[in-house]
């Protein structure tokens, strides 16, 4: 059987490949010959970094057309490239742009898709992926039919492994006239970076609707400070406007894997669990004994979060 050709769709931040792309190169190397697809203006360092993490080839579309929410130009170029090169599998990270590009590409190609995978393997010509469903549950999802398969992988499902190596660069022609782009970004308003870097925190104290009101997040900040950790939140309270979106942990927010995760007043909806299930130790404090968060907690306390959290902070401070 010929070596499988696995492509990793890559995004840059400040000129460097994003971490999830490097994680996916590890997955791709395990499945066959890894290549990266980079549709964005990029310098030599970015290409070198992809090579050093195992990409034998970098398909590079060096065109400013791709810089801003360019789903249609991306899909046009990818569709042409896939037709010419016939890869077996494309891996996408779980960013918003990746999701939109993958889904539009899938619609255009009629390709088989799996989202939210935490592991990917082949069994014969079929592709098997592990996909979390809720709480402590996962399912094996099987994809079959003609290649290519398109799979979106959760962050931190694979490690970043620098293996050394150099990528051969193959230019990708731009397939869409800029005038044909129907979606025009008029303005980008950056959000002032608020709050901690959740993705790198070793300890996270996260709050949900059970806190009652926005002001009570202060209690979590005090506990987090005591533990040297960061504060996160569930979607419900971000939607309610208690804390900014940068705090959100879950399927549509950040994926975290801290050493310690303390869930305060969080019920444990599917989307939230998808973003924090990988935490090493989970403590849950919630009034509702039936809350799904208890299913994955190492230690759960059924009780009033507004009483227990300040007492815990006080005890830790007086240690």
């Amino acid at each position: 059987m010929a070596t499988r050709r696995v492509w990793v769709w890559t995004e840059l931040t400040d000129g460097a490949p994003q971490r999830p792309a490097l994680e996916l190169l590890t997955a791709a190397r395990g499945l066959g010959e890894a290549a990266a697809v980079l549709l964005a203006p990029a310098g030599d360092e970015a290409i070198a970094a992809l090579g050093a993490h195992g990409a034998a080839v970098v398909y590079h579309g060096d065109d400013a057309i791709y810089t801003q929410y360019a789903v249609e130009p991306q899909v046009a170029a990818l569709a042409a490239l896939i037709e010419a090169e016939a890869p077996d599998l494309l891996l996408f990270p779980s960013t918003f742009t990746a999701r939109d590009v993958l889904a539009r590409l899938a619609g255009r190609l009629g390709a088989g898709v799996i989202a939210n995978a935490t592991s990917v393997r082949f069994e014969g010509d079929r592709l098997l992926a592990t996909v979390p469903y809720t709480g402590a549950y996962v399912a094996t999802v099987t994809l079959e039919g003609p290649a290519p398969y398109l799979v979106q992988v959760r962050p931190k499902a694979y490690p970043v492994e620098p293996v050394g190596g150099q990528a051969e660069v193959r230019p990708v022609a731009t397939a869409l006239d800029p005038a044909a782009c129907r979606v025009q970004v008029v303005e980008t308003v950056p959000q002032v970076a608020e709050g901690p870097n959740l993705e790198e925190a070793e300890v996270i104290v996260a709050g949900g609707r059970g806190l009652g009101k926005a002001e009570n997040f202060r209690l979590l900040e005090e506990l987090a400070r005591q533990l040297g950790g960061a504060v996160g939140a569930s979607r419900a309270v971000v939607d309610a406007g208690w804390v900014p979106y940068s705090y959100q942990i879950g399927q549509t927010g950040k994926t975290v894997k801290p050493n310690l995760y303390i869930a305060c007043g969080i019920s444990g909806a599917i989307q939230h669990l998808a973003g924090m299930k990988g935490s090493k130790h989970v403590i849950a404090i919630n009034q509702d004994p039936d809350a799904a968060i208890f299913e994955i907690a190492d230690l759960g306390v059924v009780g009033d979060v507004l009483t227990i959290v300040p007492k815990l902070t006080e005890r830790l401070a007086g240690r």
Binding site: V71, A139, T142, I270, L312
Partner: protein
């Protein structure tokens, strides 16, 4: 102007429980309207309120009578439900194909849909449908204005917001920041009884058997790692709970 709003009825995300023996969610889990879809519905009604001459059609795939009734009571003019077991695979590609068939037959100026469903949660139906219908799509929509035939849309990105300009026909995928969905009024509920809901099958839509062919199959749900059972403290006072929390943190060397 015709606005089509795509809605789905899902297991209540706050009530979902699993039946480990069946390897599936417990039967009898209550069904609710997918939350983001109600924000899409509200956006359509607001456009209609602003500019008058708008028809709103609510479309759903799969069992969704209650959800469609709610949309009609909120202000949709009519509803279409595609109830066909052959299309109920849960493969988002099949979903997109079936919805595309409805939309081609129906015609539209604007399609509004929730960003993702709380059950599948792939967020892929909007963009996949956009490819099939060859229209532009904007995801993560948190603000929407329609003026002089163009749409100005704000979308949430990882580190801020983008302001986007586009012209209909288009697909917009709504996040909850877009608006506050109204509760149906009594008058709306009464009016909904006289509004038509049309049922369609795969055959009605002219979908060939292979269009409904799912390429994705889900295995049974299982527990990935057999971790030691967690300890859940019930009926303890706050002080002894704190004692045990501190003991846990010390034992695991977390403080």
């Amino acid at each position: 102007m015709k606005i089509v709003v795509l809605v789905k009825q899902v297991p209540d995300p706050n009530a979902v429980r699993f039946d480990p023996r069946a390897g599936d969610i417990q039967s009898g889990t209550p069904q609710v309207a997918n939350e983001y879809d109600l924000h899409a519905m509200e956006a359509a009604i607001q456009i209609k309120e602003q500019q008058g001459d708008v028809e709103i059609v609510a479309v759903s795939l799969g069992q969704a009578r209650e959800t469609l009734n709610r949309c009609l009571a909120m202000g949709a003019d009519r509803a279409i439900v595609v109830e066909d077991a052959a299309l109920a695979s849960g493969d988002s590609a099949v979903t997109a194909k079936a919805l595309a068939a409805v939309l081609r037959a129906e015609g539209f100026d604007l399609i509004l849909v929730g960003q993702e469903t709380s059950d599948g949660g792939t967020g892929s139906v909007g963009p996949a449908l956009a490819a099939l219908l060859d229209v532009p799509v904007v995801s993560n929509v948190v603000a929407l204005e329609k003026q002089d035939g163009r749409l100005t849309v704000q979308r949430e990105i990882e580190d801020g917001r983008q302001v986007i300009d586009l012209a209909p026909p288009a697909i917009l995928c709504a996040l909850s920041g877009l608006n506050e969905p109204r509760y149906p009024s009594l008058k709306g509920i009464m009016a909904a009884r006289r509004k038509p809901t049309e049922a369609k099958s795969a055959a009605d839509l002219g979908l060939a058997d292979d269009a409904a062919q799912s390429r994705v199959s889900w295995g049974q749900l299982f527990v990935e790692e057999e971790t030691a059972e967690g300890i859940i403290l019930k009926d303890v006072d706050a002080d002894s709970a704190v004692d045990q929390l501190v003991a846990f943190l010390q034992e695991r060397k977390l403080v």
